[in-house]
Amino acid sequence: RAMELPSSHLSAARAAAAAVGYLRYLRGGPGRGLQLRELRRARRQDIDDVGHKYYLELELEDVLDKDRTVNCTAEVLYHLGSKTSAPDVQVTVQGELRSTEDADQEFYNRIRSLEKELVAENIPDSHGNVPPELEPIHRLAWVASGYVIWQNSTENTKFHLAQVKHVKQVKRSDEDLQFDFVVLLHEMVSQEVLPWEVTLLWHPQRGARVAQSRAAGAGS
């Protein structure tokens, strides 16, 4: 039996952050940036010998299509006693997300036609600015960090992408685009800002996948 939680409940909010990370990894791209508007409902089930499972109803928006609401349900299972395994997440989006086919193809062509590999740092900058031509890269950083957030979430963490410290495009012989990110993740409970190195591969039809990721050394 699942216990109803007030949606303001801390553990519900943390589970929602993990679910959003997962969803961004799955469905995000240079032309789509999903963010949480509201956690509408949350229930928790304690499953003996397995772990804690959260059932969430989320209201999201696509930053490029703000007038519309995206509703989804999510299940987040944190495994018992496990510090090293990612929570199992399932997300179901109600209805169709706005198509990003054209934007994706345009971005792909633009990057492929660059003479020199793209390099950028501090996105946003100290004042919160993102140059328009880097906005798709910023959204890809959401995809990359979404993966890391999902993989590293526990019931005692709540991660947000604080900043893209560095991004470097790596030219490949195959059709994928490769971006090596150094992202700063802000963890709300400990208040640490943690650098992560993430290599993201992306293709307009095939979507995104993280090739590798690791925490970037000890902080100062």
Partner: protein
Amino acid sequence: HQVLRIKTKNEEELKQLQLLESLEHLELDFWINPSAPALPVDVRIPAVRVQSVKAFLESQGIEYSILIEDLQDVLDKEKQDMVESAQRQRSSTTFDFGAYHTLDDINAELDHLASEYSFVEKIQIGESYEKRPLYVLKFSTGGSNRPAIWLDAGIHSREWVTQASALWIANKIASDYGTDESITSLLDKMDLFLLPVANPDGFVYTHTSNRMWRKTRSKIPGSICVGVDPNRNWDAGFGGPGASNRPCSDSYHGPRANSEVEVKSVVDFIKNHGNFKAFLTLHSYSQLLMYPYGYKCTRPDDYAELESLGRAAASSIRSLYGTTFQVGTICKTIYQASGGSIDWSYDNGIKYSFAFELRDTGRYGFLLPANQILPAAQETWLGLKTIMEHVRDKSS
């Protein structure tokens, strides 16, 4: 002096740099500290040491480039630019409240407000660890030690929207006294003390070195790490859950309560004054409006009144742009955290103790775009005003 940019290729090289960093006699000033092989390390080297440091790097095969050939040239040019800009600013009378500013600019604006309004005075309540003055604006239209309201911002230096909002609020209060009924009746009965930059050392560091710096900049004996979380350093459940005893942690509580001069100065000031009725503090981000306790998860005695007042304030905030703030105790709303300022103020008899977490909810986080400063400040002000009006009514 030269500034080098060093690119380490692996952990081994990184360790060499960290070793270099620990040799204090070299007087190396790391603008970006060695933290990860993939990240560049920028370091300012005193002229006499440039050759030997370069020789060391070369012998280790560590790549570097010269970022700034001659730092003095750069500083001279920057100073010239600033003089010209200040001249331009003095000739135009408006401080841009919708932009982020340096500490020097903020202090200049505090002087400006104090000189322009007879009931506004700039006072110094102490000094930071690095000896920067802690400036408070006192708003007082008369009386003698009237019941007072405390408001601070920027205790966590990376939360830039808070210092920026505090400036706007200061200007709003000063300029609306005499015309706005609520502000006028408030200042006719009570004094207001506003500390816009509670952690100036950290704030400067976010401008010069690390935009994500949170803590003070105090040296910690026995550790290469610097700084204490000033909002875990207050004498309220000090050292309890929700604060770290590790100096390198961003929530390090410090060696003992009030060890940080930035905290002690405020504590002493408030105790010596003896007549504060409200203690309000601004943080970001998350859009929360909280009251005690953080160090324990039980409700304060005044729970009903604080919850009700909090909800009223959140409602006022929402009325402007629809921004929703969640209301509750610190423990239930954000996390258990010991050594926090509003827990201290509440346990020391200041009933109306509230902590705000301003915009946003994570999209930009600490890097809130400047075009959101004014909306954030305006809506926050409405929430503060609701609380202050209640305090005024209860204090007369």
